[in-house]
Amino acid sequence: MNNPYIAFFKISIKDNIAYFKDYLISTIGRLLTYILMIFVWNIIYLGGHLSEIGGFSLMQIDAYFVIGSAVFLIIDSMNDRILSDDIKTGNIAKSLIKPVNYVYMVFVESLADNVLVLPPVIITIMFVLYYLGISTSMLSIVTFMIIMLIGYAIINVIQFIIGSLAIYTTSAFGMSILFMNVASIFSGAVMPLTFFPSYISNITLLLPFQMFTYVPTSILIGIIPSSAYLYYILLGLLWLFALSILGYFLWNHVKKKISSVGG
């Protein structure tokens, strides 16, 4: 197997296992914060004797947070940190000389992160759906996966863009934090987007962030009707396309800048 990408993938997985402990800790940490939200919403529903908020029943909102957290975990990526570290340490100059496409290498490295998480997450999702008695159709599962893939690609591109911007600041850390904050609200990770007042939700339903949590989760739980599936897929692809073009131009600019600085 002479494919350098596959070899790199294997090494990245080994690398991850060495730091698996850290990855595990951060994953559990994030899962716990999502689980805490379930407590919060339970008490809101029960305390107010509400059977439904924003189209979600109590059971559906519980499913939403568990599955939503799993989804976010899968598509989250370490892209921006990898790229910005490389620029800082000067590794990027070396990598650009190698006869493989650097951009693909970065994606592969982040893919390695996510692949490790996949098995336990899929099991959790299936268990939750079964336990809560939420039925799913083949179509919804397939669309769920397509949207997740699109969301994964979008988050990668955005974080790649942020990482590239590291060349103008000492670190992409600040921008990364900003992005995470904005993304977590508008992705629906804090609460489903339909909870927002209409003037906000109308905007959020046009942004790409919703693909990270709200859309795939709601499709799987059955909140979003199958008639809307095509709309979301096309919207996602449109955003992916637009952001990729932006990323492409930015990356070329960065490449030129790096070679002119001379490491």
Partner: protein, 262 residues
């Protein structure tokens, strides 16, 4: 007095860290933007909860807004002082040494040596504004508010000591900076809402194990008149105990610090 010297040194270091930070103009711009967005992040969740439901039973909108932003401000401020990554990397590479050679207390040296989360503090301004906003709408006695502010500052000091100890312990026993990060994250999320809603086990954890409760939940309950003022004294006592125990723990643990070797 030694404490004053340590504080003066800390402020001196801050001055130069910030000077270095704003060398890059884009960084300054990001700082402002992050700050503005910070307000949204602490404002939206609570506001939406109360617009579509009656919210958390027993807590009015402004009361929950106060709780949520106090947690954000307190823990955010702790995070400003202690960025686990920096400290752990400093210990790993032995880079911490050049700060420990300065004529100030070890804790001061560690906290001052690293710039801290300079970007994050921009977001804290938003939390502070919302705290003031909530207090203005709650019509409380000035004395209570004064005691509350004092408690909050004491809480920040106590938690900084505690999390510094946790950072070093996590490094020595687990060689991990992520652990402390996750602890800070979970503490923030959990304490943004009343601890009572999580059930007694979790409430106990955040009272005795990760005692953020003494810095946020209990003082606010006293302020809002939910529980007996005696709990204010218990909280302050608890915070002082946390500070003392953390300091003793730190002194003991820093002896085992062996940087880099060779």
């Amino acid at each position: 007095m030694e404490l004053i010297e340590n504080i003066k040194y800390f402020i001196l270091c801050q001055k130069y860290h910030w000077k270095e930070f704003f060398i890059y103009r884009l960084q300054g711009l990001i700082w402002v933007i992050v700050g503005s967005f910070g307000v949204i992040f602490t404002y939206i969740p609570v506001t939406i909860i109360y617009s579509i439901s009656q919210g958390i039973p027993g807590w009015s909108y402004f009361q929950l807004l106060l709780l949520s932003n106090t947690a954000g401000f307190t823990i955010g401020f702790v995070w400003y002082f202690i960025v686990p990554w920096n400290i752990v990397n400093g210990m790993r590479a032995g880079e911490l040494d050049k700060y420990l050679i300065r004529p100030f207390g070890k804790i001061t040296c560690i906290l001052s040596g690293y710039p801290g989360n300079l970007t994050g503090i921009a977001g804290l301004i938003g939390s502070l504004l919302l705290i003031i906003y909530s207090l203005a709408n709650l019509k409380l006695q000035l004395l209570s508010i004064a005691i509350f502010v004092f408690g909050m500052l004491l809480g920040i000091a106590a938690l900084v000591m505690l999390f510094l100890l946790i950072t070093i312990l996590a490094y020595l026993f687990m060689n991990s900076a992520q652990f402390t990060n996750s602890m800070l994250n979970i503490s923030w999320s959990a304490n943004s809402y009343p601890l009572g809603i999580y059930g007694s086990i979790i409430q106990l954890i955040f009272t005795l194990v990760l005692p953020i409760g003494f810095a946020v939940y209990y003082p606010i309950q006293v302020l809002l008149g939910f529980i007996n003022p005696i709990f204010a004294i218990i909280s302050i006592f608890g915070l002082l105990v946390i500070t003392a125990v953390s300091k003793l723990g730190f002194d003991k643990v820093i002896k085992s610090y062996s940087s880099g070797g060779g």
